[in-house]
Structures are given as C-alpha cells and as structure tokens.
C-alpha cells in the first residue's frame, strides 16, 4: 500500500473480485449443505455435483437446453425489472405470462395456417397485448384506488392459472379430448430453431433483443427517464408535472407485456399448445434473476442464463446419479437463497473491509 495510485488499484481488484467470489462461495455453501443429504442416501456428492455443473455441457442438446430454459426467465425478469425501476413491484409475471400464452395459443390455433411471418407476428402481438392487459389492471387499481400492486398481481397469478385450467378443460380442449390441453397450434406458428437438433428456438434471440430494447427505453429515452424519475422520487416527479397515476398504469402495462412475451416464447417455441401448469415457477425465477442482476437488463440476461444452467444441471444430476426430486428442490432453494444473501451482504462486507484498511493505514 504505497502510492495512492497503487492503493486504489489494490482496492479495485478485491472488490470487483468479490462480485464474483461471493456468489461462487454461496453456491459452494449450498452444495456443501446438500452433500450432507446426499451422503445420507448413499449418493456420492462429488459425482452428483459433477453432473450438476458439467452435465450441462455433455452434448449440444443439453447446452442448448440452458438457453431454452433461460428464455422465459429473461422475459419475466425484465418485466420485474421494468416495474421495479419505476417504483413498482410486479409479482405478477407468472400470470402475465399465462395471459400472453392464452392469446398466443388462440392466435396460433386460428391463424396457424397463414405464412409463418404473419402468424408468428400476430401471435407475438397477441401475447404482448394480453400481457399488457393483465399488467394494466393491477396498475389501474393501484393508480386509482391505491391498492398494493404486490397483492393484486399475486392474486391475478392464481386467476390466470385457473383460467388456463378451465380453457384446456372445456372450451379449447384438444379434439381427441383425451388430455386437458389444446390442439397443437398451426405448424407455421412454430418458432424456427436456431441450432438444428436442439430445442433452441429464436425465442431466446427475441428475448435478448427485447432486453436491449428495455435498456434503451429506460435509460436512453426521455420517456424512460420520466418513468424512472417517478420511481425514484414520486413526489419530486409530480412537482415537475408528471402524472403519477398515468406513469404507474403505463409502467405496469409495459411490464405485463414483457412477461406476456414469455408466454409467446414458451407456447410457440416449446409446447406448441396450451396445457395446465406449463413452465412452473418461471415467474418467480424471473424475479430472482432480476434481483441477482441488480435490476438492469444485462444483469438479468446473465442471471437468467445462470438459473437456466441450474435447472438443466439439476435435471442432469437427477438422471445421472439418481438424486431424487426432493433433494434437487432443496439444493435449488438453497442456492437461490444463499446467492441472494451473498448479494445482499456484499456491500456490508465491502464496508467492513474498507474500514479495516483505513485502520491499518
């Protein structure tokens, strides 16, 4: 610690390193705790974890699965991020995704015979509108009645879930009527694959493009600036003439639309039909990704990919070593909790280290 310049360099290294080290340490801790359970049932933790981490990359298909899984998480993560940046907590990503999915399926069933460009675009537009509506209503309720959007969006998640359950049970049930799901959407509405022989469809590309769009909107346009100002300081914003009510409603609508696109990618890219309980928990994974990514689009994309790796790795671990589903649940929950905890504790650790350094001086 000689020159001021030298000092600064040293500090820079450590704190930036922490950003990487702490999440890794958190994952390590979670795996350590998990290994206790694994040992209990006579499974070798090292072997299990080898599958967890590297099982992702055994072949092209599995590696592609990472991005397949991360696509909807990116979108719901962006939805949460957008609302968060404007001062709102949109917990309804799951429900808005379902709304988008319902619209996409409806469009896909009716127009699936048209040219691919047409039917895919229509499906996407339908999903955006449906998601926007599902986000707009809670936004409206907050703007006009002051109802907490946290609560309303959570309730709307359940309403959307049961609505889908109803649709696939009665009105839209597949023609052979055997299982509660709709018919397949028209072949032309299927999203083309980016990498042949895998399930990686252009939905992932769409998601990344949208994340760039979100970044541009929020940080590079006056419109986005206004929304963020409202989020940052509602009273100040109001004084400078922005209508808070309008901001809230618009913001929730856009946020919902983003999550609605997730419904589009999942239906048109993966399932090709509407069914009960598809893409479980994607909404909350999105929130986790947004938190891990510090609510900025690039971070969301990266965290979503990491979460996608976690999921495909867990599947691999289950298949490769026979780890039962319940342990996989436990390990996943612990990883998410510990990484988020590490994220939260990092500033405190940094502060502590800075204080220490000052004392040494």
């Amino acid at each position: 610690m000689q020159t001021k310049g030298g000092e600064m360099v040293k500090k820079f290294d450590i704190f930036q390193l922490l950003k990487i080290l702490i999440p890794i340490a958190a994952v390590f801790l979670a795996l350590l705790l998990g290994s206790v359970l694994l040992l209990f049932i006579d499974v070798n933790p090292l072997e299990a974890y080898r599958y967890l981490i590297f099982g992702n990359f055994t072949n092209k298909y599995n590696t592609a699965e990472i991005f397949v899984k991360s696509t909807p998480i990116i979108l719901t993560g962006l939805a949460f991020t957008f609302a968060f940046r404007t001062g709102l907590f949109n917990i309804g990503g799951e429900g808005q995704m379902f709304a988008g999915a319902m619209a996409a399926v409806f469009v896909g069933l009716k127009t699936g015979h048209l040219s691919p460009f047409l039917t895919i675009s229509l499906s996407l537009i339908g999903a955006i509108i449906a998601g926007a509506i599902w986000g707009l209503i809670p936004g409206f309720l907050k703007g006009i009645f002051g109802s907490s959007e946290i609560i309303v969006t959570i309730m709307f998640n359940y309403v959307a879930l049961y609505l889908i359950s109803y649709l696939v049970d009665k009105p839209l049930r597949e023609s052979i009527g055997f299982y509660p799901q709709t018919d397949l959407i028209g072949k032309n509405a299927f999203l083309p694959y980016v990498v042949p022989n895998t399930r990686l469809h252009i939905g992932f590309v769409i998601a990344v493009i949208i994340s760039i769009i979100v970044y541009i909107i929020l940080w590079k346009t006056p419109f986005g600036y206004r929304l963020r100002a409202v989020g940052f300081n509602p009273d100040g914003a109001e004084y400078s003439g922005m209508s808070i009510k309008k901001s809230i409603i618009i913001s929730m609508a856009i946020s919902g639309a983003l999550a609605g696109v997730a419904g589009f990618t999942e239906i048109n890219g993966i399932h090709h039909r509407l069914l009960d309980n598809f893409s479980k928990n994607v909404g909350f994974d999105g929130i986790a990704a947004a938190l891990l990514g510090s609510a900025n689009p690039a971070g969301v994309v990266v965290s979503s990919i990491l979460l996608g790796m976690l999921q495909t790795g867990s599947n691999s671990m289950q298949r490769g070593v026979g780890v039962p589903a319940n342990i996989v649940s436990i390990i996943q929950a612990m990883i998410i909790i510990l990484v988020l905890a590490g994220n939260m504790l990092r500033p405190k650790l940094e502060l502590y280290m800075r204080r220490k350094e000052k004392v040494i001086e």
Partner: protein, 310 residues
C-alpha cells in the same frame, strides 16, 4: 337443491365449513402477525407443510398427539426463523424468500419422510385427535352440533381470535407491532426494536402455520401425505388481505372461504355443473375486490413488503 333448507343439511354444511376453514384460519392468523409488522409471508404454505409432517413425526415417536402438535409448532417456528433471517436480517426480497421457503419445505418433508419411514404402500399412521364435545355447550340445538363437537385444535383456533384482538389493540406489544408495520422509522426513533419485533412476528406466523398444518395431519387424519396442504397456505395469504389484517376480519374471511369450499362440494354433488376452476378462483377474485376498497376501506400496513434499513 331442495335439501338446502333441510336443517340436517345445514348443520352438516356448517360443520364441514368449520373443518375446512380452520387450517386457513391458523395460517391466516399467523400471516396476519407477520404482515402487521410489515413482512409479507408467502411461505405460509411451506410452514404448514412442515408442521403437518413434524406433527406426525412427533406423534409417531412419542405416541402422543399433543406432543406431536408441540413438535409441529416448534418446527414451524424453525422454518420461520430461517425465513426471518433471510428477510428481516439479510433483507432479501420477501416474495422470493417466501417462494424459496416453500420449495425448501416440499423437498425437506418429502426427503425426511422417506428417510424415516421408507416407501410404503400404506402411509404410516399415528395417534391423532378425536372430536371432543364440550359439555353443556354441545347440547345446544344446531349450534352445539356445529361448533362444539370438534377436535381440540378447532377450539384453540377460535380462542386465538379474541386473544389476537386483545394483543393487537390492548397491549403495548400490539401497538409496537402495528407501529413497526406502519412507520418503522418512527418506531425506531421511539426506541422500538424494529427487527426484533418483526422477527418475533414471523416466528409467531411460523408457529401458527405449523399448527394449521398439524390440524390437517393430526386433527383431521392420522397420517402425512406429500403435499397434503394443497394450496391452503396461499388461500391464507388471501384471507389475511380479505380480512383487512384484523383478527375478526381474518376469522370472517376464513369462514367465508370455508363455507365456499364446503358449498362447492355439495353443489357439485347435486349435479349443477359450474366449472370448478371458477370456484377455485373465487377467494382470489374476492380478495382483489376487497383490496380496491369498493366494499369498505382497506389499508395494508404501510411498510408491508419493504425491509427496514436503519
């Protein structure tokens, strides 16, 4: 549907409503403590599941369902302690934490059940509660039949309502809780230990949710089945809100949801075919309506959902 005016039918309906509403009531009362202090608790479902499991384990090893119940309460508190650590101390987003707790609970209960009892064709059964008639009161026509011939846990649930009312509105602890939930900064300035109060409330919510879970496994049955809570924890979250965060409100909300459930079964039996999914949506839509304040003002604790930074 002519039966609905038959007294026996009504008695049976209301008895069933009580049984169906009690698990929700326990969890919702717990959730109410937590939310009144400002912590959203989505993890009620997981805490109930852990309680249901722990109750059976306790009864299995000691042969006493009362001890089982105590084990359930303690286990609920244990999970809640983890939740409190994550949300109050480390201040991670409460929703994500709640969901993570639920994930954890499902995995843990399934894992330990198999570790302890193996995979059996018929679930392990333990000693459990039987209905207890309260002398004199149970002889009251109609009301006695409905209210006073239930298992002990039901009576406990109902007693908790006035107790909670007393705590919230007539004690300084209650005042502290409410202040912390509305204006944590003001509370802090006056010397109320915000984090301690919130932690205590979260622990209470875990205890009560655990109790609600054990009601299912020990009070209604004598066994544990994977995922037997089946979403009641989430309905409890709605009940807290629909009940406007007050003990009597939560009681009403739980009863309404219980009646709706019992009614739905009987409606289905009579052949009227309302798609069941709409009946399932009912508690949630009702809650949204309540929150808009059209039917009476609703104010959530102002600091609900926001971790408190000193």
């Amino acid at each position: 549907m002519k039966d609905i005016f038959n007294i026996t039918f009504l008695i049976a309906l209301l008895s069933a409503s009580i049984r169906l509403s009690v698990p929700i009531l326990f969890a919702a009362l717990g959730g109410m403590y937590s939310e009144k202090s400002g912590v959203v608790n989505i993890g009620l479902e997981g805490m109930m599941l852990v309680g249901a499991f722990a109750g059976v384990v306790g009864s299995y090893f000691t042969g006493s369902y009362w001890i089982g119940t105590i084990v359930a309460v303690l286990s609920g508190m244990l999970i809640a302690a983890l939740f409190a650590l994550i949300t109050v101390k480390i201040k991670i987003n409460q929703i994500v934490s709640g969901v993570a707790i639920n994930l954890l609970a499902v995995g843990i209960t399934s894992f330990f059940y198999r570790a302890l009892f193996g995979i059996t064709t018929v679930p392990i059964t333990v000693n459990a509660f039987s209905p207890v008639s309260i002398p004199i009161l149970s002889d009251i026509p109609i009301i006695g039949e409905i209210l006073f011939k239930q298992t002990a846990l039901v009576y406990i649930a109902f007693i908790l309502v006035p107790i909670s009312h007393y705590i919230f509105y007539k004690t300084s602890l209650g005042l502290n809780i409410r202040t912390v939930g509305e204006h944590p900064m003001a509370a802090d300035t006056v010397g109320i230990p915000v984090e301690k109060v919130r932690t205590a409330c979260v622990l209470i919510s875990g205890a009560l949710a655990g109790l609600g879970g054990s009601f299912l496994s020990l009070g209604q049955f004598n066994m544990f089945v994977d995922n037997m809570v089946s979403g009641r924890g989430f309905i409890a979250v709605a009940a807290v809100i629909f009940g406007k965060w007050s003990p009597t409100g939560v009681l009403m909300a739980s009863l309404i949801f219980g009646v709706a459930d019992a009614l739905q079964i009987r409606i289905q039996m009579s052949g009227v075919s309302i798609p069941y999914q709409f009946l399932l949506m009912f508690p949630y839509i009702l809650t949204v309506v309540a929150v808009t304040g059209i039917v009476g003002r609703t104010t959530s604790p102002k600091a609900l959902g926001t971790p408190y930074e000193k």
